[in-house]
């Protein structure tokens, strides 16, 4: 086997940041090579360099032994490189066929028209060859995330890619879809393709890759064969210290119901009912988790509870009182805190500084405002408190939110919401995109709240997180709660099946968190 790709001394600077620092890496043809690292380690940047999206500050890319300089993806594509980005590069309103052939359309009539028939045939032929199940005429916006990913792979292959780069391909998939993907990868390597995939999940890397390169702070800290290493070793390489992924969660008796949801149905923007008759309750001193693959109605459910989306039917009660008619503002005032999924769209006004962001949601409330006037002095000390207590860095209240890193933005939001002295906290993916240190910190804060007798509704697609923190765990699939289980006893495989909408064979009702109160049943 020969070396398909070799990166030699790649360095990439961004203003103020060294994203890649003298990285060497080589990938054997026909193998699966994993690129492992924490958030911000420089994985995506390195692959963007390989794909010609970025020009390296220094260093050379060799393809099949010859040095190449790519200054645009076009050149990289011509050299047989294809990339499936973390965020799919698909045009939503176009069909699968149109997306796959984009930029390489077969033409007819001397180029005057695209040959749509040939294009379709080629796509059908290709997907059959690799055993992919995609409808060539479906619009991207109508197909599942897994299918979109397959379209991306087909797109790369259609362009004659021999080397396929996949950036965190499993982040959006259910465990079952992950298995399917790995089968696809195997099929591809069997046909001689070379795969580089990015991940920060150790298990996956060990399962699917032949070799793994670990990046830390932009540097290559080691390349190892997967059958010669262990989870622990990889974790240490990645983080630079030993890691304990355990959460210390003392047992607490849950108290009164703080938030109760009865037969709630919610529609999305297209008037499709994406939450159907969901019922559950969050009690004082409890973390109630909801697991599920993104896009199964969790977002809409949470938005309905927090007053950002109208309910179609059902009732939400807060401390025993129905709040269906409450405005968003009233919900905030009465003690419902909310860590939104999308911190940069919702959680922060990116062009406001932290002083201004610190009163988002309290801009009409004492002590920040009286008689319609905002007291900026009080607001400033509030922001500085949050910064200090939640270790937001750099500790500058006058800097605009946009200038903080993702993790620090998140810490500020968490601080702001917790400092409202809420009785219920709705936390959606509270540690998404956050590094390990900050993750631990946020987890501890959530458990502090639980200890103080607040209720926490935790939504996350990270299984360890929901499993580790929750007292009871619901699994959502296609707008319904499949079941509420006991996170202590349920297995990862069972969760995976539930998330995929199937009840596992090994299913035992004893695993339910609350056998007396099956989900969806009225009291």
């Amino acid at each position: 086997m020969s070396t398909a790709v070799r990166l030699a001394g790649i360095t990439k600077w961004f203003p103020g940041v060294i994203a890649n620092d003298d990285v060497d890496m080589s990938v054997e043809g026909g193998t699966v090579h994993a690129l492992l690292g924490e958030n911000g380690a420089g994985k995506t940047t390195l692959m963007n360099v390989l794909y010609g999206l970025y020009e390296p500050t220094e260093g050379t890319v060799y393809i099949d032994g010859t040095p190449r300089s790519f200054d645009s993806p076009r050149v990289a594509i011509d050299a047989g490189i294809g990339m499936i980005h973390q965020h799919f590069m698909l045009v939503d309103p176009m069909t699968v066929t149109e997306n796959i052939t984009l930029g390489n359309e077969p033409r007819k009539w001397g180029g005057l028209a695209t040959d749509r028939k040939t294009a379709r045939e080629e796509v059908v032929e290709l997907s059959e060859r690799y055993g992919f199940d995609v409808d060539p005429d479906a619009r991207i916006e109508d197909i599942s995330v897994g299918a979109q990913q397959r379209v991306e792979i087909l797109k790369a292959i259609y362009r004659g890619a021999d080397v396929l780069i996949l950036d965190e391909p499993t982040a959006v998939l259910t465990p079952q879809e992950v298995e399917e993907l790995f089968a696809v990868l195997e099929e591809l390597t069997a046909q001689g393709k070379t795969i580089i995939f990015i991940s920060h999940k150790l298990g996956e890397v060990l399962e699917a890759a032949d070799e793994v390169t670990v990046l830390r702070d932009g540097k290559n800290v080691g390349t190892v064969a997967t059958d010669e290493t262990t989870r622990e070793e990889l974790a240490e390489l990645m983080v630079g210290r030993e890691v304990l992924m355990e959460v210390d969660k003392p047992a607490i008796d849950a108290g009164d119901s703080l938030l109760s949801v009865r037969d709630l149905s919610v529609e999305d923007e297209r008037d499709v009912e994406v939450v159907e008759d969901v019922s559950f309750e969050v009690r004082s001193g409890e973390v109630f988790g909801i697991a599920g693959v993104d896009g199964n109605g969790q977002a809409e459910l949470v938005e309905a509870i927090t007053g950002l989306r109208p309910q179609e039917s059902g009732t939400v009660s807060f401390e025993g009182e129905p709040i269906d008619e409450w405005s968003r503002r009233k919900r905030i005032r009465e003690g419902m805190a909310y860590i939104p999924e999308d911190r940069q769209e919702r959680g922060l006004v990116m062009e406001f500084d932290l002083v201004e962001n610190g009163i988002l949601g309290s801009q009409h409330a004492e002590p920040f405002a009286s008689d319609g006037r905002i007291d900026w002095d009080t607001s400033r000390s509030h922001a500085e408190d949050i910064i200090q207590k939640y270790d937001v860095r750099p500790p500058n209240a006058d800097a605009d939110a946009v200038s903080f890193s993702g993790g620090n933005q998140q810490k500020f939001i968490v601080g702001r919401e917790f400092e409202r002295d809420p009785s219920v906290v709705v936390a959606t993916h509270p540690t998404r995109g956050v590094d390990i240190g900050s993750t631990e910190f946020i987890h501890e804060r959530l458990l502090d709240l639980r200890r103080e007798g607040k209720g926490v509704l935790l939504i996350s697609s990270k299984l360890e997180e929901v499993q580790g923190l929750s007292d009871r765990l619901a699994v959502m699939y296609e707008g319904k709660i499949m079941d509420v289980v006991d996170p202590e006893t349920v297995t990862e495989e069972e969760l995976g099946l539930l998330m995929a909408g199937e009840y596992p064979d090994s299913y035992e009702s004893s695993r339910r968190a609350d056998a007396a109160e099956p989900a969806g049943e009225r009291r």
Partner: protein, 355 residues
């Protein structure tokens, strides 16, 4: 507004488009029935005016500049460059067309020069937006204001007044026999620009939906990064689309002034808001060239009707109020139809390699 509301606008938009069309058809049917039953009533007169060849001819004539500008706007906006400077492009080519016809004596050379002027201005717009990352809305506004000053300025320099002299016009092409078919005859007794308009609409549709370039234009407005990573130069596509908008609007502007043989540059000039109406037309037509032309014709038709109603004193509505009919109609229609789904990346600057 979020993507969410945009989406809901889309789905609702389709329903309510049908609703609006339904109401319109119903209204027409009522007028039709009343008109046939009572030919001398107001409804009868209205029916005869609406179905007359002259109203249809006027509709087509009035449609030309708007339709061309709308087509240009579609290309630009589909590619992600919102061009609200269409009005300015119309103005500059309306003047350029007359000036060069005056100089060369040939209206067709005038048209070519008008198109060249408008294309040049569109190129400036493109460079400013694409190269210098100017905000598209503001730059478009600037393009309009520049043309609004420049054309009368030039007219003043050359002709000593904001209005030019009269120059030869482009005549009409009349198809024998077919032109006598009443209302339909209007389609066969028109200036070459009217025929050109239909050709341009068909070609635009074809280009957008059946050629690779059209697909790139759409991709560049929806997800430029997808296009970029597919190896197509987004900036070049956007340049092409913006310049195409200059060419198309240029034809519209030259057609406007050369059907008349004069450019008048006082106040809002002879273009008088047609560029803005064009934007309304393509939004209402949902970026479809055919839809845009139909909404243009709806608008132009109301305008044509308004003129005839005034002259014939059919409804005793005071004349300034009659003039508001087209504008009020647009507002009502928009209120019912709501927002059109604009291309996802329209208005956003894109640079390759940007994260």
């Amino acid at each position: 507004m979020s993507e969410a509301t945009l989406r809901s606008g889309l789905t609702r938009g389709i329903d309510s488009r049908l609703l609006v069309a339904g109401i319109a058809l119903f209204g027409l049917a009522v007028i039709g029935v009343l008109g046939v039953l009572f030919p001398s009533s107001d409804a009868g007169q209205l029916l005869s005016i609406m179905t007359s060849k002259s109203t249809m001819s006027a509709t087509l004539r009035l449609s030309v500049p708007i339709a061309f500008a709308a087509l240009g706007g579609i290309f630009a906006e589909k590619s992600g460059v919102i061009n609200i400077g269409l009005e300015g492009l119309l103005i500059i080519s309306a003047f350029g067309g007359v000036y060069f016809t005056d100089v060369t004596g040939s209206p067709w050379l005038g048209v070519a020069a008008g198109v060249a002027a408008s294309t040049l201005l569109a190129a400036v717009f493109a460079v400013v937006c694409i190269e210098f990352r100017a905000d598209q809305i503001i730059a478009g506004l600037a393009i309009w204001l520049i043309a609004l000053g420049l054309a009368p300025f030039a007219s003043q320099v050359v002709y000593g007044g904001p209005n030019t002299t009269n120059v030869p016009t482009v005549g009409t092409i009349t198809v024998p026999y077919l032109s006598e078919l009443g209302m339909v005859g209007a389609f066969f007794d028109a200036t070459p620009f009217v025929y050109l308009m239909f050709v341009a609409v068909a070609l635009s549709w074809w280009t957008l939906n059946r050629t690779a370039f059209g697909r790139w234009v759409r991709a560049s407005g929806e997800n430029p990064k997808a296009l970029d990573t597919a190896g197509v130069d987004v900036q070049r596509v956007r340049y092409a689309a913006a310049i195409l908008s200059g060419i198309l609007a240029g034809i519209g502007g030259a057609a406007l002034s050369l059907s008349l043989g004069q450019f008048t540059g006082n106040g809002p000039t002879m273009v008088n808001g047609k560029g803005f109406i064009a934007i309304v037309a393509y939004l209402f037509g949902n970026y479809n060239p055919i839809g845009a032309m139909l909404s243009t014709m709806l608008f132009a038709g109301l305008d044509a009707l308004q003129l005839t109603l005034q002259a014939r004193d059919v409804f005793a509505i005071p004349q300034p109020l009659v003039r508001t009919i087209p504008y009020v109609t647009v507002i009502i229609v928009l209120a019912l139809v709501g927002r059109t789904r604009i291309p996802e990346a329209a208005g956003d600057h894109y640079e390759s390699g940007e994260d």
